[in-house]
Amino acid sequence: MAGTALRRRLTWQLAELVEVDAETPRVKTIVFDVPDWPGHRAGQHVDVRLTAEDGYQAERSYSIASAPDGTRVALTVQRLEDGEVSPYLTDELRPGDKIELRGPIGGYFVWEPSEGGPLMLIAGGSGIVPLMAMIRTRAAAGDDTETRLLYSSRSQDDVIYRDELERLSGNGLTVVHALTDSQPPGWTSYARRVDAEMLAEVAPLPAERPRFYACGPTPFVEAVAEALVELEHDPVAIKTERFGPTGR
């Protein structure tokens, strides 16, 4: 169909910033209105392009944080101190400002309620973003697919979406935190990096055929994927996405 073909051709669109929310000291959620947004699936991302006055362009990819919601698209961006794009997105942009954006992109690291579960989500730091889109999509659809989130952060203050995750827990969603560097007084959950033992305790058994989505820095994702294979989970059911340098 012509409409489908047109939709697949990626074009840059002007997106207007409508809202900025601080998530943690280094992380903000920026919400855009994209007039011709065709809709998206949880786990997909967008490319963002900034053009300087002298014509220099920088492109970066950001996971979509929001469940499908008309023409609204939320990105959650971690400010990288030496970054070319993220400091501009998190500190300089104001509501009403426009940037260029294209998407949605990617159909591999995607989950929809119709795909079922049990779902095992494993996040390292800002790797939570595309997984949060899955959790929000599940909640918005009133879906009760058994879902477990194992979420590794440095400290409690670095936990993105902390209150919302607590609110969404229950109805088949279990959230387990691991705080690697510092823990608040009375912390009873994990206080170390994600490892095979932790995954064995938190994840469904291989016989339950869980679907895995792991997202985080490259070393985190590699370690998780290796541990899951070691635990005899089906490699085909393990989908990974890395947050690393973008090569642009």
């Binding site: 073909a5 990626l10 492109e59 690291f109 996405e241 340098p245």
Partner: protein, 85 residues
């Protein structure tokens, strides 16, 4: 582990621009070990351009070099590519 391993998202948009279809779900067969899997699961490195490697045998599946006006793609390591249209 390699510090030059890239975020795969970095190439998904570029490939979709060139092929006008989502390539992360396209199934590629490695020209070396014959393992077949989605392009979204390959390893991506920064080399002379961007290098896609087979996650099973490490074979160079493809190399991509982009300039402002053109994209150059070397696909010699991929035996077949199956794309949903």
């Amino acid at each position: 582990m390699d510090e030059l391993m890239l975020d795969r998202n970095a190439i998904a948009g570029l490939l979709q621009e060139v092929f006008a279809a989502d390539m992360t779900t396209a199934v590629g067969t490695c020209g070396n070990c014959a393992a077949a899997g989605p392009v979204g699961a390959v390893q991506v490195f920064r080399g002379a351009g961007i290098v896609l490697r087979c996650p099973h045998c490490g074979n160079n599946l493809a190399k991509i070099v982009k300039s402002d006006s053109r994209v150059w793609i070397d696909l010699r390591g991929i035996r077949t590519l199956e794309v949903t249209v």
